[in-house]
Amino acid sequence: MNNNPYLPELATIQEIITETGNIRTLRITLNDKDRMERFTFRPGQVGQISVFGTGESTFVINSPPTRKDYLQFSVMKAGEVTSRIHQLNAGDQVGLRAPLGNGFGFDEMKGHDILFVGGGIGMAPLRTLLLYMIDNRADYGDITVIYGARSPKDMCYTYEFEEWRAGGVNLILTVDAEFPGWKERVGFVPTVLSEVAPSPNNRIAVVCGPPIMIKFVLFGLTELGFEDQQIITTLEKRMKCGIGICGRCNAGSKYVCLDGPVFSYDQIRAMGGEL
Amino acid sequence: MTDSSPRSSAPADQTAANTQGIKIVGFLCNWCSYGGADTAGVCRFKQPTDLRIVRIPCTGRMDPLFVAKSLIYGMDGVLVSGCHPRDCHYAVGNFYARRRMEALKLFLPFMGIDTRRFRYTWVSASEGQQWQKVVTEFSEEIHRLGPNPGVGPRSGENSKISNGLR
């Protein structure tokens, strides 16, 4: 990065994929080819995308560092900036400040079995780590993914599911209610989790999704015998600077933008409330 | 609303040259005055060109905020026009508006804003000629008043966009 951490690098949207009714995936490249070549990051690190004139917002880089043709971000339409992003087209310019945040401890996860539990847009941060592990498949044991969405229409990355399965991933899909033509599981993610009941032995669980899902999944994992430090999740907060200065994204003394967004469950417990 | 930097208050008799950039915003109710302006256009009545029209569903939608923001940020005049009282499409919208607009009109000068820059009036959809009269008179009045000096610069220190890039 340059010496002004507030100054975004210019980037161009190469491709936009419509994932669901309110989620779009952007594939962008930095305009500076050299920088794009040298750009490195850890899975789970985030970027601040600028739409100049509207503002900045934080998204996880959900393509893995092992695949560098573009940087991928999935954006759910919610507020001012995300609505603006949804109006952009391929070829449009945005600003990018990345990589920011801590990312997943993928090295410490080596040799372990992995359980991913994702809900809705929460699959985005998991995808980067999942693809990284597929690209380094020998380093990891069993990889099980439980991915749930409200309906099949609300599921992201459906076009990749075959690739994931081919990469040696036990992919379990579920939707909240019966849907015509749906052949996979039906039921809420926490319920499916207790049905699948993965063994906590030598396993790390990585969880991301809406707060209510996280709450019950954490409960379910504890039931299954997972220790707090075996459970990893990512936090979200309103952010501005993204570099641990502006003060708003704190949970206790930790800044989600700088010390996170990835935390283990025991770390989160130590932070106190206000999540 | 673009440039709001303070313009020197103009002398009383304005020449055509220094009132060229005059901007007037008109908030017109959809059912009557917008139709009235349309009628005036269809009848090819000659109208001043410095009015920018914002169509609102009813003068009952008129928030004094719209007028205040326009005048504070340097619009030279604000005209609000709706259905004649008792003719409101929604029965009572303009009755509410009337009280609000009158209060605003009396309030503006207290803050140092020339109340002549704001006018509210009633014009029905068939009154093309009336519309022509209203808008011509208001425009002439604003041209007489000259550019709106505004309430002051946007920021003492940092906000001049004009000295930006290049």
Binding site: N4, P5, L7, T82, R238, I245, G247, S253, G273 | I161
Partner: protein
């Protein structure tokens, strides 16, 4: 090079005028034509009334962290050849000019240690603050106007504390003795006045000596961080302490160590700016997420966060540093007379109750 000069009271303005030709000069001044009205730091103008007789209403943080400043300018340019895509240019031009704040107070200067840690000492360095900071000198008054709301000695400072200051100002019976404390400050005093005579110098030394001995405030902050963590979940405590809070931004805006800010874009047509502006953790919108979720939805969580930030989070993050300089402004300006000393002081009482 002058090390120490005497300025007679009636010559102060002419000396400041001379000084302002050497360097950008900020002084504490009346903001309203009322001798007991609000005061703050303003760029020097000849004839402007200096307000040396009391602590300013607004702190000097705006010299280094303006209430609003431009971080970036951007402009979309249409390609001349009719291409649909416009090009985008972004720049972060900034300028920090040599500046002197004449008439700071020890508490205000001490507050900068918190800001320095946050803005300049990583992991990321804020170039806007840091460049201004490097270019700014402080001439600090030995403070003899402490009142019942001051508590600088409780948080590591003191009314004669010159840490971080470049010049010391001592107000004597008939004027001011200004002494350069660092090399870089000495040249500023050249040709501004004569060295003080022996009797004045003696008086100044006595004043410094006397003020140095003063202990201002009796808040004991030892162990506040742990006590805060224990109190964190005790809603009753916070209900009792801050029910009267109005959730306005006064305490944070007058506070010299409150630095939290917002970043917003403002554009007109194809051009615009990215602005940084003061924000306040007392505001609902501060933490409101796009989803509608707000982790600090009421004033209780918000006030708790302010106390926690100053007395627990900052110390925990930054090697024991406190986020409070004891200036007492938040107490003085609070519309409902909330006293942060009580809130912090009671943290440790009967925690197990």
């Amino acid at each position: 090079m002058a090390v120490k000069i005497f300025i007679a009271t009636d010559r102060l303005d002419s000396v400041l005028e001379k000084l302002s030709t050497k360097i950008d000069l900020w002084i504490p001044a009346l903001l309203k034509d009322d001798k007991s009205g609000p005061t703050g730091f303003v760029p020097y103008e000849p004839g402007k009334a200096v307000a040396f007789d009391r602590q300013t209403t607004m702190s000097l943080k705006k010299v280094l962290l303006p209430q609003v400043e431009t971080l970036l300018r951007f402009e979309y340019r249409k390609e001349p050849e009719g291409a649909i895509n416009s090009t985008l240019a972004v720049e972060d031009r900034r300028e920090a000019r040599p500046t002197l704040v004449f008439g700071a107070r020890p508490c205000d200067v001490r507050a900068l240690t918190t800001l320095d840690r946050v803005f300049s000492n990583g992991p990321y360095v804020d170039p806007y603050y840091t460049e201004r900071r490097k270019n700014t000198l402080f001439a600090t008054l030995v403070c003899r106007q402490t009142d019942a709301k001051c508590f600088c000695s409780s948080v590591g400072g003191g009314p004669a504390d010159m840490e971080g200051s470049h010049l010391r100002i001592v107000r004597t019976d008939d004027g001011y003795i200004v002494e350069a404390l660092t090399k870089e400050a000495q040249s500023l005093l050249d040709n501004l006045g004569d060295a003080p005579d022996a009797s004045r110098e003696k008086q100044a030394a006595e004043i410094v000596e006397e003020v140095s001995r003063r202990r201002v405030g009796d808040l004991d902050t030892e162990g506040s961080a742990e006590a805060f963590r224990k109190r964190f979940e005790q809603t009753d405590y916070w209900v009792q302490m801050v029910s009267q809070c109005l959730s306005c931004g006064v305490c944070t805006y007058v506070c010299p160590t409150c630095y939290c800010f917002s970043i917003t874009d403002e554009a007109e047509n194809l051009k615009g700016e990215r602005l940084r502006s003061w924000d306040s953790c007392m505001f609902y919108h501060y933490t409101l997420e796009a989803s509608g979720h707000n982790p600090r939805p009421t004033k209780l969580e918000r006030y708790r966060n302010r106390v926690g930030h100053k007395f627990s989070y900052i110390p925990e993050r930054y090697e024991g540093l406190l986020g409070c300089c004891g200036c007492g402004r938040c107490i003085r300006s609070c519309p409902v007379s909330i006293d942060i000393r009580q809130v912090v002081g009671h943290l440790k009482e009967n925690t197990n109750e």
